[in-house]
């Protein structure tokens, strides 16, 4: 991988000048400069380093130009910015001091919440079908987790197979731009939905109240955490967090790493660490078999990275950051086997122990939710067309249950086509419904027929109900908000 860096600039960290590149976030610029402690916890004053890097945790809250609790993983570094560490939660200054923020009203046919693989494909499909689309995303640029996927995707040529993740994002962005029907709000967060079908968005420079005719929610997922001694020490990072640092921004994340979890994410990140010149001591897996696909495991094994099955992380050690990690074998009941401890001198411990769907938007709208261990947690009940019990609110991608990027792309299209079939009339509506059905047949009967996707398939089957059943659910639990 090669990186084209932006202009050099200078900002200050606790009074001293630091250099950075335009296009970096504050958290990454600090990391690159060797600052591993970004804040201290409120109660015990324990050091905090970066963790998720996608705005879903609170590990990187700092004071930026006097404003506390800024998510520095989402804050672009700028010339002259003043950054300071904070201790615990700092109450923001009162509203009067912060000044007025303008409220703007927006109308759109389709609001897409989240610009990752599912959101991008939903937005493009809907725009191509003639709908006006608004995409809201928290990050600096659209693409979601695709931006940091440097490996080639599986699938078929039509499904972008063979392209690398960031190249797929690039393809979508080009098409969205040339389509002209898609408006984009980056660095903007949807904070709630309200009666009357209104959606509130905190934007970069304004507050928006959006009135959409339909919403496709593709907020993605967040990284799971693991219980072990000192698990909050800087240097313990989510796999996705390290991908941001390394693959999106081109900063070497450490020297020696231990990866916890042998699912595809853990295996892929191990290979990418090796590509970045980081030594990977081992991949640790608590189960008696590799979690991810064989081809990903074979890739790391042939470069000499061991996969320790039936092992778990017991503790990490270090003063201000990770210096050592201790791994222990487990028995059939997942209990540690005394005396089997092994220690690794590492400065990075990557957690790739699974993802949890982001359920907030759907739960807040009052959609009927289901708990599915196969899907990673709480997900909205949905029809085959991916409509939730909240009328005109659709779900797609990891938020519909953890699966993978290619299925997220297909789901995004299914959701958009279902919305088109409802929002339009005549032959256009009919064609959209047919196309959604065709895609669904492919998804369920061909793609998910792979035994490697059996678990997600089973999970998704268990949370999908027919249109008629959904009407009964709506009658029993009428949602407080509706769109359209």
């Amino acid at each position: 991988m090669t990186f084209r860096r932006g202009r050099r600039l200078t900002f200050t960290f606790e009074g001293s000048p630091l250099e950075a590149y335009e296009g970096e976030t504050v958290a990454v610029a600090l990391y690159a400069a060797g600052v591993s402690v970004l804040s201290w916890s409120s109660g015990l004053g324990r050091p905090r380093g970066l963790f998720c890097m996608i705005g879903k945790c609170s590990s990187c809250f700092m004071v930026v130009n006097g404003v506390p609790n800024v998510k520095t993983c989402r804050e672009p570094v700028r010339e002259g910015l003043a950054v300071e560490r904070q201790r615990g939660w700092v109450p923001p200054a009162d509203a009067a001091e912060l000044g007025e923020v303008e409220t703007r009203e927006l109308e759109t046919d389709l609001l897409v919440v989240g610009g990752g693989p599912a959101g991008l494909s939903a937005a493009l499909e809907a725009a191509q079908q003639g709908l006006d689309v608004l995409v809201v995303d928290e990050h600096l640029r659209l693409g979601g987790q695709l931006l940091k996927q440097t490996h080639k995707f599986f699938g078929s040529v039509e499904l972008f197979g063979g392209l690398r993740g960031f190249q797929i994002a690039g393809e979508y962005l080009k098409k969205l731009e040339s389509n002209g029907r898609v408006r984009v709000l980056t660095q903007s967060a949807v904070y709630g939905a309200f009666r009357g079908g209104l959606v509130g968005v905190v934007g970069r420079d304004a507050h928006y109240v959006v009135k959409p005719r339909a919403v496709v929610g593709t907020p993605g997922a967040s990284e799971r955490y693991l219980d072990f001694a000192n698990n909050d020490l800087p240097g313990v990072v989510g796999a996705g967090g390290v991908q941001t640092v390394m693959n999106e921004l081109g900063v070497k994340p450490g020297e020696r790493a231990l990866v916890v979890g042998s699912g595809n994410v853990g295996l892929i990140i191990s290979y990418q660490l090796l590509q970045a010149g980081v030594a990977v001591e081992a991949v640790v897996e608590i189960l008696p078999e590799v979690g991810g696909w064989f081809v990903h495991a074979a890739k790391v094994r042939r470069y000499g990275i061991p996969i320790l099955l039936r092992h778990t992380l017991k503790a990490v050690y270090g003063t201000e950051k990770v210096e050592e990690a201790e791994v222990v074998e487990v028995d059939e009941g997942f209990n540690p086997v005394p005396g089997s401890e092994k220690r690794f001198k590492v400065d990075l411990v990557l957690l790739a122990v699974g993802l949890e769907p982001d359920a907030r938007l759907f739960a807040q709208c009052g959609a009927v939710m289901r708990w599915s261990p196969d899907l990673g947690g709480l997900v909205p009940l949905r029809t085959p067309g991916l409509e939730t019990s909240v009328r005109n609110l659709y779900v797609a991608g990891d938020a519909s249950g953890i699966e993978e990027a290619t299925t997220a792309i297909i789901e995004g299209r299914v959701a958009a086509l279902s919305a088109v079939s409802k929002l339009t009339e005549g032959s256009r509506a009919g064609r959209a419904a047919e196309e959604a059905e065709r895609l669904n047949r492919f998804l369920w009967e061909e793609y998910r027929a792979s035994p490697l996707l059996a678990r997600a398939r089973r999970g998704k089957q268990s949370v999908t109900v027919s249109e008629e059943e959904m009407e009964k659910v709506r009658a029993l639990s009428p949602p407080p908000v509706s769109f359209g």
Partner: protein
Amino acid sequence: MEVPPYRRTGIVELGELARLGLLPPERRLRRGPVAVLECPEMIPCNICVPYCPTKSIRMERLIDLPAVDWETCTGCGMCVAVCPGLAAFVVDLSKEDYDYVTVPHEFLPVPRVGDEVVLLSRRGERVGRGTVIRVWERNRTHVVTVRVPKGLGMEVRAVWVER
């Protein structure tokens, strides 16, 4: 269902490849370069199929295992370049003095023709040294053909350039 050993080790044995129809027959291996697709699971993927210039890879459904027609495969290495799983290799066991192996390579530095490189087995063991005889690139995957000691053609599955 029995867990296949490769799901515990991350290493597929030749016997397993043969059982799944992924290993070219001995006679074909002795005749010249041929593809070995180490793709034992039913991945939803068929990328190697449309890219094979001689149409030698067949697959009915997206999730089927790739079936190579060993007779028409020329060992060109295109599948090595495009396979997202980095699971495609070309081996040539036809020469008396050396074997030849073609592997995907995505690490820096990129090997150059004439370089002596470390040969790695499926287990990541350093099984010897070989000489790079050809390198080409496609979408950032380098396709490296290396001359290896006789007998290592079915062992070597990666190379490493020592800095």
